[in-house]
């Protein structure tokens, strides 16, 4: 029992190191305002979701998602599930095969590196909880 525990610990250290390196290098190169959603994805066996703000703001004004669709303006405060999306809430309000492509293109959203923590990436300069 102790043997397997120490083995697990021995494995965990390099894994943690890798995860940290991935996390750090990611922050320096990701596009400004890219958001990683990973509260459910990896638990459910999918890659984390990467949401690119830049791509969407070329096509929609902020207000469409942040006022109409109910996305709160703080990374980590929106628990989006595939059930919601298929029912037409959150991403599913547009990603329904009519305004934008339908949710069956799993790997276009679920395209993040495994192990990424949820949050906003890409050289942001403000931090902390905020009020949203």
């Amino acid at each position: 029992m102790t043997g397997s525990a120490s083995l697990r610990a021995a494995l965990a250290v390099p894994l943690l190191a890798i995860a940290l390196t991935v996390g750090l290098s990611a922050e320096s190169r990701a596009e400004y305002a890219d958001v990683v959603l990973n509260r459910n994805a990896e638990k459910e066996g999918m890659r984390p979701v990467v949401f690119p703000h830049w791509f969407h703001r070329i096509r929609f004004r902020c207000k469409v998602c942040h006022a109409e669709l109910g996305f709160k303006m703080r990374a980590g405060s929106n628990l989006v599930t595939m059930g919601d999306i298929i029912d037409g809430r959150f991403c599913g309000a547009c990603h329904n095969g009519q305004i934008a492509w339908a949710p069956e293109n799993c790997d276009l959203c679920h395209s993040g590196k495994p192990g990424l923590p949820p949050g906003i990436f890409g050289g942001h300069e403000t931090n902390g909880p905020g009020i949203w």
Binding site: D34, C62, R74, N127, G130
Partner: protein, 307 residues
Amino acid sequence: MIRTLRNPAVALGALCCTLFATGTALAQQDKGKAVYDKVCVACHSAGIAGAPRLGDAKAWAPRIKTGIDTLYGSALKGKAPAMPAKGGATDLPDADIKAAVDYMVAAAKDGGSGAAATAPAAAAPAAAAAAATKPRPAALSFNRLLKPASKRNPPPPEDGIHDPQNDGTHALQPPLQVFESLPRSNAGNRVDWVKALDNNLIAPRWDRTDPAAAPVVMDLNIVREVKGSMPDVVYPHKQHTAWLDCSNCHPQIFIPQKGANQISMAAILLGQKCGVCHGKVAFPVSECRICHSKKKNVMPVKNAQAN
């Protein structure tokens, strides 16, 4: 060789013919590549919906066996389940589509061997260059923490958060493809989004479904006097209401009443007030003078002399 030298006219003619033939073949190849890069790439680079990938010899081999005319036919008329006629670009002439097919078939035949053949050729000048300028350790590089222009806005497979192993990653739009046509700025995405919108270079929808809906823009500047030596802040409702709804900021972030909002740079850096967006998705706080833009009333001359 000697014989051709004896008859320079023949030699010249032969040379011209060869050059012409190579020229047209190259032009054809370039055309094929251009069409591929514009149209076919959407599916054939990532292998979306079962499309054989460019250069994937294994996937192409059984298709090439059916004959080039069958492939031309599939490309021109479309093929179940997902290949549209002419890859969706029905306005292109047949010859262009055929050139693209030729290009992809050639790439598949090259497969690994093509890449292997070009690699040593490319490696030779690289090695020469490396010998001339010995690479310095990264710790000695100039502006170590400042990203060079070539490292900015990388395409998704190289940006460090997308998984390059994932097929979908390669189908995503690279930011620079769009940013090149937009006004640049010095921070954030390095795009001046406000200018891009003002100049109609982008047309983001105001309504989810109605492309014609337009925002009600409110042109009202709020001047906030600041305590320190920085210029006063001018807050323009105009640029904000072009993107946002009143309810995005009022009343939760900013109480819509004069003097009711205490704002400090500390709060902004903690992600409150302006920092809800600025520094995360709107231009960051390093761009001081975009907000701190109103020159303070200069001190009376008498006081200035006293100092």
